[in-house]
Symmetry: C2
Subunit: 231 residues, 2 copies
């Protein structure tokens, strides 16, 4: 797999996707915001352009067009639209591309609490994704714990991004992308099955935010520096 | 509930319980190590005494005797012995006492991996405990993520302890106990049902330790100082 040329942030008009798109645009990446509504995607891209400056290479498209135009697909959609969107996208996913899933199956998706997750049969939203993408497309779980408020604020993001995938090459690309966000350290968290833990940590952090009035993230302690280095 | 006089660390001859007992003995707490085998408990207490010095108030007893002698019961037993021990202890748990559960239902308990957890019907090991203790005994989930290696090493423990309980008073006592360990910050993590996330984080940290050759812990970022203060 070659280094991706463009990052499509699907569901990128939501706060999490917007924050990631902003950070990557700031880092000089080519970003395409995807949305159900092309106009909303273009508006979001315009907002980011105003914030980052004229150098930002960012555009907005309907999800399917954004997907077809990029090799690196980032899912930041509410869980209630997760499986449906993936089914729609499937024919547009290019061979050689990869999917990074930041989706968290919050119980809020079915009218429950954002401090609880739903049980997903496959184990996690990211594993559901792995089942729905075309054969051979690697799936990576990452960015669930880097909250929208942190991403959209100024300054470094005080959060480690744990990256889980069954494809070491795709994991590596996702970690490189994570470290483009100031403050973020990226850690290889092993296999995609561990995504279930990353997703649940988000529910815990949301609970801490409500309880303690903050914008929480996590840092892993006690690992050697090598754990944060890209190969 | 009055301030507990003695802490019984049940299963305290294992590395996690030993580490907690050591840290609390160092902090001047009255500690009773409990074990199936009184002799092993006494040996562990003796080792801690040698390490802490003559001032340490620590003894070793068979689990049931340790339980009956303390108001603060800390469970640090492998999950395969968790329910059985609680059934044995039930008649010895004194009214007015409380239970802190540090147990993690690792799949290793049934011959699987220590990087995976088992599904517990009640949601978590700590919630199983809540079902097995006498009515009115509060249960707190804590210390799952403060690894044995960190506790048994010299120096501060670089880990936050997230404390979950349905009983605010018991949560407060557990947080006070956590902050007696140098380096630890204690955070109110809300209801006992969140124990499932704390337990799974341990499996993630064990995976990181294996993958990156470290002794990992977690820190929560982005919360105000008040989140770490006891009321």
């Amino acid at each position: 797999m070659s280094t991706p040329q463009a990052i499509a942030v699907l569901g990128g008009t939501g706060p999490e996707g917007f924050g990631l798109a902003l950070r990557w645009a700031q880092a000089g990446e080519i970003v395409i915001i995807g949305s159900r509504d092309a106009k909303r995607a273009q508006d979001a891209a315009e907002k980011i352009k105003q914030r980052v400056g004229a150098s930002a290479v960012i555009s907005g498209e309907e999800n399917l067009i954004a997907c077809a135009a990029a090799e690196l697909l980032v899912l930041t959609i509410p869980f209630e639209g997760h499986a449906d969107l993936l089914k729609q996208l499937k024919p547009a996913i290019r061979p050689g591309s990869m999917v990074i899933d930041a989706t968290v199956p919050l119980a809020a998706s079915v009218g429950g609490r954002a401090t609880r997750t739903l049980g997903v049969w496959q184990g996690s939203a990211a594993q559901q994704t792995a089942e729905l993408v075309p054969k051979g497309i690697p799936v990576v779980a990452a960015f669930q714990n880097a909250g929208a408020e942190l991403l959209n604020a100024e300054g470094p993001v005080e959060c480690d991004v744990i990256v889980c995938s069954d494809d070491p090459g795709a994991s590596q690309i996702a970690r490189a992308l994570a470290t483009k966000i100031p403050g973020v350290r990226a850690i290889d968290g092993g296999k995609l099955e561990n995504a279930r833990i990353l997703e649940q940590i988000t529910a815990l952090l949301i609970g801490l935010n409500i309880r303690h009035k903050g914008h929480s993230g996590i840092r892993i302690t006690g690992l050697p520096d090598a754990a944060y280095k890209l190969a």
